[in-house]
């Protein structure tokens, strides 16, 4: 049987969850025995090249590109995991939820105390730029999510146990200390 294929991506996140993934340290060697990595910021493969068994999503959706990438992952991943606080609940970026988008954009580009160079008062409107959404959405509000791995960031041991349990088709048995929030 061929090895299960994993792909990961970071949407509106800080890459902290991916950093935590790297914290599995030398077990990454065991991991590549167990699974095959496809597109991921870790190996810098830019495009999905085959159907994916496990898609791991860091971050929620704050702009149109996040939505498109997330939908694309959903379409091409058998199992999709919301990975970390932002993917599950919006996280820090979602602090803007409840503040009108207009206020956020003006604060960022016109009125903020650190805005000094935008003398022409330009708001980012190039068609190439992703479009900011009205609020930050957790992944499950955009596509169906199969599993949730909480943490900010989830501990490496927790990620390890979860991925191993999933690919070996076992129940995950992790002690509280491994997945607790603090």
């Amino acid at each position: 049987m061929s090895k299960p294929v994993i792909a990961t991506t970071s949407l509106a996140g800080c890459f902290g969850c991916h950093m935590s993934l790297l914290d599995i340290d030398e077990r990454i060697l065991e991991l590549i025995e167990l699974v095959e990595f496809n597109k991921s910021p870790i190996n810098d493969i830019k495009k999905l090249t085959k159907p994916i068994d496990i898609g791991i999503i860091e971050g929620g959706c704050c702009n149109s590109e996040n939505v498109e990438v997330l939908r694309y992952f959903r379409e091409n991943c058998k199992t999709l995991i919301s990975f970390g606080e932002c993917a599950i609940m919006g996280g820090l970026p979602a602090l803007r939820n409840g503040i009108p988008v207009e206020e956020c954009i003006k604060e960022a580009y016109l009125d903020g105390p650190t805005v000094q160079l935008n003398k022409d008062k330009v708001l980012p409107n190039d068609p190439e730029l992703p479009i900011i959404l009205d609020r930050v959405y957790p992944c499950h509000e955009v596509v169906k999510i199969d599993y949730y791995l909480p943490g900010c960031a989830p501990r490496a041991d927790f990620i390890w146990e979860a991925v191993v349990a999933l690919v070996t088709n076992n129940e995950m048995a992790v002690p509280y200390e491994v997945f607790k929030f603090d």
Binding site: E65, E68, E75, L80, L123, P127, I131, D182
Partner: protein
């Protein structure tokens, strides 16, 4: 005013750990915490204004805005609403012309909602300036308003009735009922106050008390069920220059009111138990942390403590035991459910936000003022006295093999005689329902909102630590109740309000879950939503304390045991509906920056290709289209 504030601060020796007491006194004086107090507090206590404000904002009963000369707090518990609280709120709002959460223009009367005030057996109940008014009706509301408008003292209002039991004691004088419907060995009236302390304590060694408690299998009565003998042993063996005994009387779990009754009817038993704990672990200070809702017991309990001091049952060389020095003070909370968690309770006693600590270290090692501290429930202290008086063997014969002794249950909701029942562990739910005269029962909430909701198929299960564990709250719902709308929803709102906000799981997830529940209640739910809710229940387990870990339980347990209620609300025609629409979601920002709401992610292809893409998401920006790939059989249903 400044002089008065400084006077209050110095009454507590300008000790910043007494911030709670200081602010409670300021609020008694000013009806709220005025802005100008913050500077004074900050200077005198050497605390930052942010530190003070974060404590103020944490507790329901502290306010930085005037809340009226008469502050009416209306109980928001599920049972209060079942008994007609909506009519009471409506009566207040209509008569006063203001909405819940506001103050009349003249600043005289403010009406606010508050979490369960521990009167579930006599709802609808309200608090006005610390005085409890139970069994309210719209007529009584009008009477109260007339009296408030006439400026009468809360004690002189026309809504008045003698409380039962010791509630009619002049030092309490509350229209509260003790409603004890079944006494057992703990509440039995064979108790002679302080006999054990006076006559027997000098004859027994501290180690022997620990051994006796271990032998008795006494476990904590607050809900968590930690073995009391073991806790005291840990605490005794921990090193520290001081040790502390804390009695947890915060009982904030909706539906629990047994500690109120125990402290009303037999406070001697509790204080005697605390003194024995002091002797056992070698502590010199005991603190009763009493919830603010029970402030009406303050004079009564302090009077008892004073009498104990006069009789040398508190103070130095108690009961003639040389070197046994122990005293007790009462610390009031200011309205926060999470303070029932022992480390949050300790934080609160130090004048801080009641946020649970990250553990370890546990309070038995580093608790109050970082010293070894034994925190036990009111009922546990009471049980200790009975065990030492009658022996561990006697105690072990009561209850079941793994749950020794009796449990004082607070039973409320749809039954003939809501109130206090002391039963042996092991009683079945069905027997309990028959005992209290409950008919046509649809469900029982065991252990409060953080516990479990069970239906008739579980009524033969028994109440004990290994089956249905409870800190005492039992709420009964008959078949006329809408469990999801009137009960589960209320409990979720409770957890959202009461989260300390420290862990994002507990701060946010219950709100996300409530949104999902509302989606289902509005007929927009699909099967996947139920699965999501179950998954999120496990996400909450990552939280720091019991509140967070169980905050999803109202939903999780009702899905487990009442799945049909959810299923009948689901939309079966759709596999997925989440209401997300990309085109709508980008409208606003496009307007702000002045661009067409058209999505173009050509830049992702290094600028070589820039295919136009409408916002409907058919284009795959980053990757090749894999739809025809031979390995791929899934797709269809997941979207």
């Amino acid at each position: 005013m400044k002089e008065r504030i400084i006077e209050i601060i110095h009454k507590y020796h300008a000790d910043k750990t007494r911030l709670m007491d200081i602010m409670l006194d300021i609020q008694d004086e000013c009806q709220y915490i005025p802005e100008e107090c913050l500077d004074i507090l900050s200077k005198e206590l050497v605390l930052s204004i942010a530190d003070i404000e974060q404590t103020i904002s944490f507790y329901h009963f502290f306010s930085q805005k005037p809340r009226g000369k008469y502050q009416v707090y209306i109980n928001q518990s599920a049972v209060a609403y079942m008994m007609g609280q909506s009519d009471i709120i409506e009566a207040f709002e209509d008569e006063l012309g203001i909405t819940l959460g506001s103050v009349t223009e003249d600043g005289a009367i403010g009406i606010f909602g508050t979490a369960d005030i521990g009167m579930n057996d006599q709802e609808p109940a309200i608090l006005i300036n610390k005085r409890v008014f139970t069994q309210m009706t719209p007529y009584r509301v009008r009477q109260l308003i007339d009296d408030m408008k006439a400026g009468k003292d809360v004690k002189d209002m026309a809504v008045k009735a003698p409380g039962s039991g010791k509630n009619s004691d002049p030092l309490i004088d509350a229209m509260v009922h003790s409603n004890i419907f079944r006494i057992g060995p703990l509440l039995a009236n064979d108790y002679k106050p302080f006999d054990y302390l006076k006559d027997n304590l000098s004859k027994i060694k501290a180690e022997s008390i620990v051994e006796e408690l271990k032998k008795s299998n006494l476990r904590g009565r607050g809900g968590a069920g930690f073995p009391t003998g073991l806790k005291w042993d840990f605490c005794r063996k921990s090193s520290g220059h001081d040790k502390y005994v804390i009695c947890n009387a915060d009982e904030g779990e909706p539906g629990t009111f047994k500690d109120r009754v125990i402290l009303t009817e037999m406070p001697e038993l509790v204080f005697e138990g605390m003194a024995i704990a002091g002797y056992t672990i070698d502590a010199h200070y005991g603190i009763l942390y009493l919830r603010y809702e029970y402030k009406y017991l303050e004079t009564y309990l302090n009077d008892l403590l004073n009498r104990m001091r006069e009789e040398h049952l508190l103070g130095e060389n108690i009961a003639g035991i040389s070197g046994f020095n122990f005293d007790i003070r009462i610390q009031f909370g200011a309205g926060a459910y999470v303070c029932g968690e022992e480390s949050a309770l300790i934080e609160s006693m130090l004048g801080k936000r009641g946020e649970p600590r990250d553990k370890p270290p546990f309070p038995v090692e580093q608790g109050y003022l970082d010293q070894p501290t034994a925190v036990n429930n009111v009922e546990t202290f009471a049980a200790v006295v009975k065990i030492l008086t009658k022996g561990a063997d006697w105690f072990k014969k009561l209850g079941t093999a793994d749950s020794a002794g009796t449990k004082v249950l607070s039973i409320s909701g749809d039954c003939q005689f809501p109130g206090i029942y002391e039963v042996e562990w092991g009683i079945t739910i069905q027997d309990m329902l028959d005992m209290v005269g409950a008919k046509k029962t649809q469900a029982v909430q065991v252990g409060g909102p953080s516990g479990t909701l069970i239906g008739p198929e579980d009524f033969q299960r028994s109440i004990c630590y290994t089956d249905l564990s409870t800190g005492g709250s039992m709420i009964i719902f008959n078949r006329d109740r809408n469990l999801l709308k009137d009960v589960v929803r209320n409990f979720m709102e409770f957890f959202i309000d009461e989260s300390c906000g420290s862990c994002s799981t507990c701060r946010i997830m219950p709100a996300v879950m409530l949104d999902k529940l509302d989606k289902i209640l509005h007929g927009k739910g699909v099967k996947q939503d139920i699965r999501d809710l179950e998954e999120w229940g496990t996400v909450l387990k990552a939280s720091r304390c019991g509140l967070g870990q169980t905050a999803g339980n109202p939903i999780v347990m009702s899905i487990k045991n009442f799945r049909h209620l959810y299923n009948q609300l689901l939309n079966r025609d759709e596999l997925k509906y989440n209401g997300f629409n990309l085109e709508e979601a980008i409208q606003e920002s496009c307007q702000v920056v002045g661009r067409e709401p058209v999505i173009d992610h050509g830049h992702l292809k290094n600028g070589r290709e820039r295919p136009e893409c409408k916002a409907n998401g058919t284009h795959k920006p980053e990757c090749p289209d894999l739809s025809g790939h031979k390995d791929f059989e899934h797709r269809a249903t997941n979207l």
